[in-house]
């Protein structure tokens, strides 16, 4: 019994190390000035890549652009998804609406972007920040609708009806009852839609046309240039906000839906 408990603890330790390995590797890679074959550990460590990033400010611009895009997409998709899901959830044909909401959410961003590019060019928003936000919002909005549909239940419907009975309108019901009750799910949905935009590369490439240098576009450029320390720094920039958001949302994410 004791032997199996020890082996279980060893397995848990190995599993914990495996979880941390990608992050640890990126940190080491970002400080590796020289790491030639067949060395397992870098021959020379230094903060050159970090200094370059902070001195040139190039990644800072991409970071701000990605933050701006992801925040805009998160806010727009969450608000619109919240509103639409309420309509869909109480509709007798909710399954058809839900099916339609899944399509943009699961569709390949590259294929969607290829088919929408002409429309975006005609609207004058291709190669533009607003075009990228619009493109990513289509996918994030589909997710938000699917996410919120399960939130609307008969109890919430009864609460809304109670507000109307007491003389309140739709706005009052939203402001005083529904939004305060939905604070947790709204936060989780914002984080998830933020990440849909934050991680996107395909739409940034096609709709952005290479002009919108988000963090993922920068990372890909560093990978193709074989500039591994700078690629590792960009990768670390890319995964830090999600780690923070996941940790913040843990108690909401682990709650049964």
């Amino acid at each position: 019994m004791r032997a199996s408990s020890i082996s279980h603890k060893c397995l848990a330790l190995i599993f914990a190390m495996l979880c941390l390995f990608p992050l640890s590797f990126l940190i080491v890679q970002s400080f590796a000035r020289s790491w030639n074959y067949p060395s397992i550990w870098p021959e020379d460590l230094g903060a050159g890549a970090w200094r370059t990033v902070f001195k040139s400010g190039a990644l800072g611009t991409s970071l701000l652009l990605s933050l701006g895009t992801a925040t805009s997409v998160g806010v727009a998709a969450t608000a619109a998804g919240f509103l639409t899901s309420r309509y869909i959830a109480y509709h007798p044909r909710r399954r058809i609406f839900l099916f339609l909401a899944y399509v943009p959410f699961v569709m390949s961003p590259v294929i969607l972007g290829t088919c929408l590019l002409y429309l975006f060019i005609k609207l004058g928003i291709a190669d533009h920040f607003s075009g990228l936000v619009a493109g990513q919002s289509i996918i994030a909005y589909g997710f938000a609708v699917v996410f919120f549909v399960r939130f609307w239940n008969p109890q919430l419907r009864a609460l809304q009806d109670l507000v109307y009975t007491l003389g309140g309108g739709t706005w009052t019901a939203f402001r005083r009852v529904l939004i305060p009750l939905a604070r947790g799910p709204l936060l989780v949905c914002f984080c998830q839609t933020f990440l849909i935009s934050w991680f996107d590369y395909g739409l940034a490439l096609i709709i952005g046309g290479g002009k919108i240098q988000t963090l993922t576009v920068r990372l890909f450029a560093f990978i193709t240039e074989a500039n591994m320390p700078l690629a590792a720094v960009s990768a670390l920039f890319l995964i830090t906000p999600p780690v923070a958001l996941f940790w913040l949302n843990r108690r909401f994410l682990l709650k049964p839906v």
Binding site: L11, A12, F15, A16, C19, L20, P22, F25, L26, Y37, P38, I40, A80, L83, S85, Y87, I88, Y90, H91, R95, F97, L98, L100, A101, V103, P104, V106, M107, S108, P109, V110, I111, L112, T114, C115, L116, L119, S137, I138, Y141, V145, T170, F199, Y201, G202, I206, L219, F220, I223, A231, A232, A235, L238, I239, V243, F246, R250, L254, P256, V257
Partner: protein
């Protein structure tokens, strides 16, 4: 429960939600399918000179597109099967530590990786001069990078599968962990044990079937996600066959303009396949109850 036209007009928030849905979700898909259809039939775009089937016929003359679909489907199937199996093992082995304890927090670290970061990591670990090859060299198993196994940009898509598994395993594990808690699988296993089942029987005949059946919709959705993936095959995928999104992008972005209509043919076939898979997901009894 039926929403009449008058009631909808009174419910301004509902009306706004419906309008947003038509503009934000239905509109782009209708446009995409319509434009791709028109372009592929010679009714729109640079080659819009009248109705023709020649681009559809041309697209299926060679086996490039068929191979791309088969390759993408095989990669997606491998990711879902292997990722699902890993997740089941993780949840059954560590479910207590994953609910409370350090592991509960650590599982979120790999979940925060993006596709591009996962592909970057796999290229740094599994390429000829990568970390695994260096460890092999240290153990005396690999002489030089050329003698290491071809695991990145390989024709079997092992690099793509490995990168996707980095993302899929923590996601599946968290999904199944939630199912484990909601379905109270611990109690069901205790009940099975008290009725005479062994630990292995309660694991394989109670826990595993519930976990797989309840997570099957998510597994299928993940299959669709991998099917259309782009950045991972772009970094660690082979030159041939190409994954669907990569082939579409290549045909659309090529200097040879004559290939463009074929990009829209692929888009339409992919969309049809996606809709079929979604119909299959929605026809399942559990989803019907949702």
């Amino acid at each position: 429960m039926r929403i009449s036209g008058n009631r909808l007009l009174r419910d301004k928030a509902g009306l706004a939600g419906l309008v947003l849905f038509l503009i934000g979700a239905v509109g782009p898909i209708v446009w995409s399918v319509g434009y791709a259809g028109a372009y592929s039939l010679g009714l729109a775009g640079f080659f819009g000179r009248g109705f023709t089937w020649k681009y559809w016929a041309g697209a299926f003359t060679g086996d490039e597109i068929l191979r791309s679909f088969i390759f993408s489907g095989s990669v997606a199937l491998a990711v879902v099967c292997v990722g699902g199996a890993f997740a089941v093992v993780i949840v059954l082995t560590f479910h207590r530590q994953l609910i409370q304890g350090v592991l509960a927090s650590l599982l979120y670290v790999p979940l925060a990786l993006s596709g591009l970061v996962a592909a970057f990591l796999v290229s740094r670990w599994m390429s000829g001069a990568g970390l695994f090859s260096r460890i092999g060299h240290g153990l005396g198993l690999v002489r030089d990078p050329q003698h290491f196994l071809n695991l990145v940009n390989d024709p079997l898509g092992i690099g793509i599968i490995a990168a996707h598994l980095l993302l899929a395993v923590p996601f599946f594990a968290l999904t199944m962990l939630q199912i484990y808690e909601v379905e109270k699988i611990d109690r069901l296993r205790q009940l099975a044990s008290s009725l005479g089942a062994s630990a292995a029987q309660s694991r394989w005949r109670v826990a595993v079937p519930i976990l797989l059946r309840k997570s099957s919709a998510n597994l299928l959705l993940y299959f669709i996600f991998v099917l259309g993936s782009f950045e991972i095959p772009l970094v660690v995928g082979p030159q041939t066959p190409l994954m669907i999104s990569l082939l579409t992008r290549r045909k659309f972005g090529l200097f040879e303009l004559a290939q463009k209509p074929e990009a829209f043919v692929i888009s339409l076939v992919y969309t049809a396949l996606l809709l079929l898979l979604l119909v299959f997901i929605f026809r399942r009894p559990e989803e019907r109850a949702a």
